[in-house]
């Protein structure tokens, strides 16, 4: 086990961890698709309906 391997394993673990965490958190927040440019705006009722703080009433 050399230094490169250790670093690589740690890096791999981190990358996957953060990626997975981001996805899970977004789903919990109610976002329908990850990395959609419209997920935050008013143009897509699909996202608006999904988010808790959505439109009217």
């Amino acid at each position: 086990m050399n230094a490169a391997t250790i670093i690589a394993v740690i890096a791999l673990a981190c990358i996957i961890f953060f990626a997975a965490r981001y996805i899970i958190k977004s789903k919990q927040r109610g976002a329908k698709c990850i990395g959609c440019p419209f997920s935050d705006s008013g143009q897509c009722p699909y996202h608006a309906a999904a988010q808790k703080k959505s439109c009217c009433h």
């Binding site: 670093i7 690589a8 698709c33 990395g35 008013g42 439109c55 009217c56 009433h57």
Partner: protein, 671 residues
Amino acid sequence: MRIAFAGNPNSGKTTMYNALTGRSEKVGNWGGVTVGSKEYQLKKEFAGDREVIAVDLPGAYSMSPFTPEEGITSEYVRTASPDAIVNIVDATNLSRSLFFTTQLLELGIPMVVALNKSDVNAKEGTEIDVGKLSAKLNCPVFKTVSTEEKNNGLSEMIAKAISLCGTEQKAPYLQADIDLHDKAAVDAEDRKRYQFVNGIVAEVETRKVLSQETNKEDKIDAVLTNPIAGILIFAGVMWFVFWVSQAWLGPLVADWLVGYIEAFQEFVAGQLENSPPILSALLADGIVGGVGAVVGFLPLVMVMYFLIALLEDCGYMARVSAVMDPIFKRVGLSGKSVIPVVIGTGCGIPAIMACRTIRDERERRATTMLTTFIPCGAKIPVIALFAGAFFNGAGWVSLTAYFFGLVLIFLGALLIKVVTGYKYRKSFFIMELPKYKVPSLKFAFRQMMERAKAYIVKAATIILICNTVVQVMQTFDWHFQVVEEGAENTSILASIASPFAILLIPLGFGVWQLAAAAITGFIAKENVVGTLAVVYGLTAFIDVEELEMTGGANTVAMTMGLTSVTALAYLFFNLYTPPCFAAIGAMNSEMQHKGWLWSAIGLQLCTGYTVAFLIYQFGTLFTEGHFGTAFVPGLIAIAVMVVVIILISRKIRASFDAKYQLHKNAQTNVA
């Protein structure tokens, strides 16, 4: 504190909202772009120390909810009780805008009128007496130009709106108490209201240029809406957009980017030379290579988004919608269907949502089903990959993909029309043609960056995870032993994908690797590229030295074992099958009817399959003089599809006739 922003479609509402909140909401120069309401906080420079939330409502012509957009506005204003309203009025069309204004004033919520597009008025010599208008409406009126950075009247207007919160305002015109169900009474009242508005306008507005006179823009419109020239021009414009983004500027920047990605990957691989090969495979090939392959195509997506944003902003798209209407009508759609199709070049989900503006139910459902045939942004990497690897990066591949998508939309619409057998349909088409405006480069740039950010986020999360999973699945077999070189068929991935691969044999690509890639494409279309990169252990698909996408081409071609014909078949298969799950979810929520949803998925599956089949079989016939493998089984599969379609069609027509039959019986009885 809540301030609602309401006004006619195309009045510049969303542009003003963006300016006040610092957001970058999409502005389209056609009505129906904002289909939901959105809340956001005002920028500090406008709100001061207070927390002021601005609500951008979709454009509405009046309070009576006849379209979904107006319903949202109407409902919000009535139920959510905002503290103040900013009514954005298109100063160039006062006579129409004030109708809604007077209705809003009746609500009893303090209101400020923003006379937007005042710069256009100044240019045309139209003068509006602000003081008089304010007196007549009994509310403050400000001139604004939401497209300007400074001196746009926004600060004064917002300051006044904030100060009015909690105060009372008297309405200048009150609708008489009438029975809202009595159509004639409502009609009469509306006319009275318009008379009131007409009176105000006559006293307040002086025009140098009358709208009824033809102007320079009309001459341009005459050409752009000419049935022949207009469509050719549109084709040319779209050709230009695709060429710049996919064949020239896009790849140019992409090559530069990929150079770095490739270098980084080699670095990582080098570092891990002495580590277990699986680590190298996961990190260097799967993550850096796989995700890198996808990110490498980002410039193509960005350039395209930029150009389309420019097109939408200048007002050209409304003309396109008008000129395409007669053609779309022939296949049972209408010009309104153009909007989702153009939005679909970016992402299929807002395109599906945009179908809400189509009033006719069958038309709306048909458009929803067909709009994903236009390649979305996520499919660009797939197109670019295959164009580069198998066709020398030729521009015609990408262009064909888009235009063929359009052809499929037409054919699909025709099919739906025949299957559902609707003969009598009265569908009207009316589209407002806004004044041309110079597209905002800044806005297009921001749109592009938003898209880029989202793309990278998607790549770094979904695609990364998918690639990792695929890499793991292909490295191990079911006993969690590392698979030997040359025995990849025993891996988990292979065993899952192989059954599907059998179905794909008549299409020319019945290998498990390609089947696996196509399946992962349902999670995100970019995964096709990512998975292929992982599964074939390929690194970069764009060669840096030759500054074309041909460098790794031969390697790619050889490794995948595809010919040009089968590559094209595979590409089109992935483009025209059902979209990613997220888009299918959007279709589901739009259709609200399982029957239509499954019809949509079925139609898309059949289309992808049939197109790939035809290309492969007849392509092989053309290039090699004989049909490809499994010609007959494939033919049988397609025959089965045709039979199913005919059966469904019979059923639909029968139920339709049954409805008609009832009426016929009733008539004969009475007579």
